[in-house]
């Protein structure tokens, strides 16, 4: 079909790009994870597994990792709870407003992540919009401190940021459901709710899974939101990596954590891909 030159032309550049800027850095990172830092703050190439042992021995890392996963799970749940109904409405009931509403979902994605992060900072802060409002209504007497600089703030911010990523695959899978299946279900005596439960939901599960994976994986690797609104209690695993590569100057340990995280995420992606294939019916 296609000439060799054409095939080479389209495959080699991306392969080269991936190799040089992705695989090679990963390999270097992998090597770093077996090295260590000397007392003179110099990275020495004595190959050992100390960094990995330390991850297991020191409860701090495990604790932060578990917290990160808890936050990621919460964000996933909230993103699904917000995203699914909206996607459902868009796909089945929005009619003429569909395009407009769809754009309204998309537009926030154009705004910078930082802008959205800072927006939440001004909303949740002690003299922020939310506290001002609550005090104005005399529901609270003084600013509520835990709105900002807490896991709670991280969850709210990331839910806001990642809900569109969850909504879009769900919306796509809902759009792919042939409408005559819904009609057939009604025709066979199923009420709208039972039709949702027995036809629409099962057929949209691949989209739900894809959306959940987006929210979970993106949140798990996030470090900006904890930095902006998380405070000391909202630190996530990526913040630990950042500080290890930065101020703490312990690249080998940071590399070990990164590598473990990568393993975790890749295996998660493989599992969900498997599940998605099994759920998807032609």
């Amino acid at each position: 079909m296609y000439s060799r030159a054409y095939k080479a032309g389209v495959t080699i550049p991306p392969l080269l790009w991936v190799t040089v800027f992705l695989l090679l850095p990963y390999a270097i990172l992998f090597c770093y994870s077996f090295w260590s830092v000397s007392s003179a703050q110099v990275i020495v190439h004595n190959w050992n597994l100390q960094n990995y042992f330390q991850l297991v021995r020191n409860p701090i890392y495990l604790e932060v990792l578990l917290r990160s996963m808890r936050i990621a799970a919460s964000v996933t749940v909230f993103a699904l709870l917000l995203g699914y109904p909206l996607a459902y409405y868009l796909s089945f009931h929005a009619a003429k407003r569909k395009d407009l509403l769809y754009q309204l979902v998309i537009i926030p994605l154009w705004a910078s992540y930082l802008v959205r992060g800072y927006a939440w900072k001004t909303i949740l802060g002690s003299d922020g919009v939310l506290n001002g409002f609550l005090q104005y209504l005399h529901i609270t007497q003084r600013p509520v401190e835990f709105f900002l600089y807490s896991p709670f703030a991280v969850i709210i911010t990331l839910t806001h940021i990642y809900t569109p990523f969850t909504l879009l695959p769900i919306y796509a899978s809902l759009e792919h459901i042939p409408r005559n299946l819904v009609e057939a279900s009604h025709d066979l005596g199923s009420s709208p709710w039972s039709t949702f439960r027995r036809v629409i939901l099962p057929l949209s599960l691949p989209g739900v899974l894809a959306g959940a994976t987006f929210a979970f994986v993106l949140t798990l690797g996030d470090f900006l939101a904890p930095l902006l609104v998380g405070g000391p209690g909202g630190i996530m695993i990526s913040n630990v990596v950042v500080s290890l590569f930065g101020a703490a100057y312990n690249w080998p340990l940071g590399a070990a954590i990164s590598f473990c995280m990568m393993l975790l995420v890749v295996s998660l992606l493989l599992i969900t891909e498997r599940l998605e294939k099994r759920l998807a019916v032609s």
């Binding site: 005559n180 299946l181 009609e183 009604h186 025709d187 066979l188 005596g189 009420s191 709208p192 032609s282």
Partner: protein, 371 residues
């Protein structure tokens, strides 16, 4: 008010003919500004096989979807017995639909597809397996009960769709061009099976198609729909033999439309002249090709104008298509359109020949003015 629909056809018994199972009254449906159904009134007898026949865009599928409850009507009423059908939602109606594209649930096995309606209506758990098995056996799909729908051919999915609808014992079964996706052979076979299945279960079938041959082969009655209005509702033989309009005559079977001038009991269309009891004036007649006979080479007595009951005419044979038992012959009689005749074993015809038809076979129809 409803039109008085005499049930003269087929399998409907005298008792069921008295009270229609489904009564469509003055139904109007628009999509936006576009009228799709412009006042449809139709009674369907219990146990009847009624076909709604029409071209694409005639509104036939919309009419079916109104009965199923997938669309809301703009005005009019649909009654099932003493129940106002158009006021209740689709999932509460005792009708089931076989969809054009089958609409088999892809995530459920064949068995679960058929069991779907029973589970939805909370049928007794114990009787579900038996009823599903019987329904699948009825459409010869028993061995596929555990199969995934994606593995089935179109014809098999069609059977599953049929079983899935029939297992609920609907009072009326709606079929939306169910055979249109099948190839010609399978289609003929399914027509036969569908007809015998309908006799077996005794359920009223309302069948939508654009294929007039299919309509004639299957139906007790045909409702011919044209641009949102019923053109004629009658048994197939009647609609073929006595079409009321030029459109009906042309849509169902082949025909010759003769635009004639009637004067004093004599109709003349160009060189063709026959006797009629119709009043004087302009009129259009439908003459089926098989009603025309070829006269022997040298007719006796010599060509006579205005014969008593038979009309004779002369024409040049323009085209002859061999068709096995009957040849289709195009005869040029000097008019704008050639006359088409279906003649049994004529041999090869050439030159000018003489033809004949019974005056009664020219059926006066409404419409048909040249456009």
């Amino acid at each position: 008010m409803t039109q008085a629909a005499p049930i003269t056809a087929g399998s409907g018994t005298a008792a069921s003919a008295a009270a229609p199972i489904l009564s469509i009254r003055q139904v109007i449906k628009r999509f936006g500004q576009r009228p799709v159904l412009r006042g449809i009134s139709l009674d369907v007898a219990s146990g009847e096989f009624l076909t709604i026949l029409g071209e694409s865009g005639s509104g036939k599928t919309t009419l079916l979807r109104l009965i199923a409850g997938f669309e809301e009507l703009d005005s009019g009423e649909i009654w099932m017995g003493a129940e106002r059908l158009d006021r209740i939602s689709a999932h509460r109606r005792q009708v089931n639909t076989v969809f054009q594209s089958y609409a088999i649930f892809p995530h459920l096995s064949v068995f679960e597809n058929v069991a779907y309606g029973l589970r939805a209506k909370n049928a007794a758990k114990a009787e579900i397996p038996e009823r599903v098995t019987r329904a699948l056996a009825m459409v010869k799909m028993g061995e596929f009960a555990q199969a995934a729908p994606a593995k089935l051919s179109g014809g098999q999915q069609q059977r599953v769709a049929l079983a899935r609808a029939l297992v609920n014992r609907p009072r009326v079964l709606l079929l939306d061009e169910p055979l249109s996706a099948l190839d010609a052979n399978l289609r003929r076979q399914m027509q036969v099976e569908l007809k015998s299945l309908q006799r077996e279960v005794g359920i009223t079938f309302i069948f939508v198609t654009h294929d007039q041959e299919e309509a004639m082969a299957l139906s007790d009655r045909v409702a011919l729909l044209r641009a949102g209005l019923l053109e004629q509702v009658a048994p197939p033989r009647e609609i073929y033999g006595e079409p009321e309009t030029a459109y009906a005559a042309q849509f169902i079977g082949q025909t010759n439309l003769l635009r004639a001038e009637v004067r004093d009991g004599i109709a003349s269309a160009g060189s063709i002249v026959w006797r009629t009891s119709d009043p004087s004036g302009k009129a259009t007649y439908s003459l089926r090709p098989e009603c025309i006979r070829l006269l022997s080479e040298f007719p006796e007595p010599p060509f006579a104008k205005a014969d008593v009951s038979n009309a004779r005419f002369r024409g040049r044979v323009r085209n002859q298509a061999f068709g096995g038992a009957m040849d289709l012959v195009e005869i040029d009689c000097g008019g704008a359109n050639p006359i088409r005749a279906r003649i049994a074993n004529p041999g090869i015809l050439t030159g000018e020949r003489e033809f004949e038809f019974a005056a009664d076979d020219a059926v006066r129809v409404r419409g048909g003015e040249p456009q």
